[in-house]
């Protein structure tokens, strides 16, 4: 089932930071891990991911480092910074409270 884009807004940053926090990774690996860890529920286009990575890097939440890739290409591996960890913790806490608040109002979801 496709998730409404409006509902996804605001979640991209949290899941990307959480993925990088587990293990430093390059863009392709991040996309793969997101799809796998979310059991296919979260599917981010690369067009969404890379601008977000550059934004997080500019803010100091992640740092990028060039590493040798397969063949002749090099890859940029991203790693979370202490500032990024704080931001992730704060957003995760807010998200948990938001989910709880919504669940209290609408009730627990029923699965078809």
């Amino acid at each position: 089932m496709k998730i409404d884009r409006e509902l996804l807004k605001g979640t991209t940053e949290i899941v990307v930071l959480a993925t990088i926090a587990q293990e430093p990774a390059h863009g392709y690996r991040i996309v793969q891990r997101l799809r796998h860890d979310s059991e296919g529920i979260l599917k981010f286009g690369e067009g969404t991911l890379y601008p977000l990575l550059y934004k997080l890097e500019a803010k100091g939440c992640i740092t990028g480092q060039w590493k040798a890739g397969t063949g002749r290409r090099r890859r940029r591996v991203y790693r979370i910074t202490p500032k990024g960890k704080k931001r992730l913790a704060a957003h995760t806490d807010q998200w948990a409270r938001l989910v709880r608040g919504i669940a209290l109002v609408v009730g627990e979801p029923t699965h078809a």
Partner: protein, 272 residues
């Protein structure tokens, strides 16, 4: 079409008009190429032919127009951040506009500064001058780093550059000549806090009468330079603006380089 050529054309569409420096474009291009090639290889393993896998990978990556828009906004925000940081480091650049500012005020409104100091008590004048210097320096630094940036020759258009710089030079001169004395005139009117602080404190009232000889004095002087002497008074400033714009447009042209994405081979890097 050869795969590298296809990729280069696609990348060129993503970066065209983004305003990004060439070096940053090449870095991002390396990163995206690596991703797209990995995606295409994965699709090939699933049974797709290479060309189809590449097209699918490019389509999944995103529309070039959408990517270009996002990159352009990010670059604009980065330029503003860099301009701000650059201003803080370069005290000389802060002093130069301030000196020009003071000369312009003295030229258009001699005796104005003592009048303003007497009315505002000096504080408003200081705030207005410092505020204007900061604004002019920030804008100047922002424009400076944009004009110094290397750009692809294929994206440069002399007519568009000339029009853009004509407007910028004209607005800058008019803002310097008009805005500065206006700020002091209204600043003198609203009291010691001056124009900028009165805007912040919301005490500025444009309906109250202006100090005699304040605002109209400099407007009359400025207007005379256009109406009083048609040839000298009008043509000289216009020619000076066009000459300044021409110099800046030519300099922008000199910063152009060959577009790496329109060449048949991309850049290769040694493994890190």
């Amino acid at each position: 079409m050869h795969e590298t050529e296809r990729m280069n054309q696609w990348l060129e569409r993503c970066f065209r008009g983004s305003g990004m420096p060439i070096s940053r474009r090449l870095d991002i291009a390396d990163e995206w190429r690596s991703h797209i090639e990995a995606e295409a290889s994965a699709l090939e393993v699933q049974g797709m032919i290479r060309s189809e896998a590449m097209e699918t990978a490019l389509r999944r990556f995103g529309r070039p127009e959408t990517l270009r828009r996002q990159l352009r906004w990010q670059q604009l925000r980065q330029d503003m951040r860099d301009a701000f940081l650059s201003c803080r480091r370069q005290s000389l650049w802060i002093a130069a506009p301030g000196a020009i500012f003071a000369v312009v005020i003295a030229w258009f409104a001699p005796g104005f500064i003592p009048l303003s100091v007497r009315v505002t008590g000096g504080l408003g004048l200081v705030v207005d001058v410092v505020g204007a210097v900061v604004i002019f320096t920030l804008v100047g630094t922002f424009l400076e780093q944009r004009i110094k940036r290397e750009r692809p020759r294929s994206e440069y258009n002399f007519a568009a550059s000339m029009c853009r710089w004509t407007v910028i030079v004209m607005v800058s001169l008019v803002a310097t000549a008009l805005l500065a004395p206006l700020m002091i005139a209204y600043g003198g009117h609203v009291g010691k806090e001056g124009f900028l602080l009165s805007i912040i404190y919301n005490t500025y009232d444009p309906n109250m009468p202006v100090i005699e000889g304040g605002r109209w004095f400099f407007v009359r002087n400025f207007g005379m330079s256009f109406v009083g002497s048609p040839i000298r008074g009008f043509l000289v400033p216009v020619l000076a603006i066009l000459a300044g714009a021409w110099i800046l447009a030519r300099y922008e042209r000199s910063r152009c380089v060959e577009n790496p994405f329109l060449q048949s081979s991309g850049r290769k890097h040694a493994a890190a």
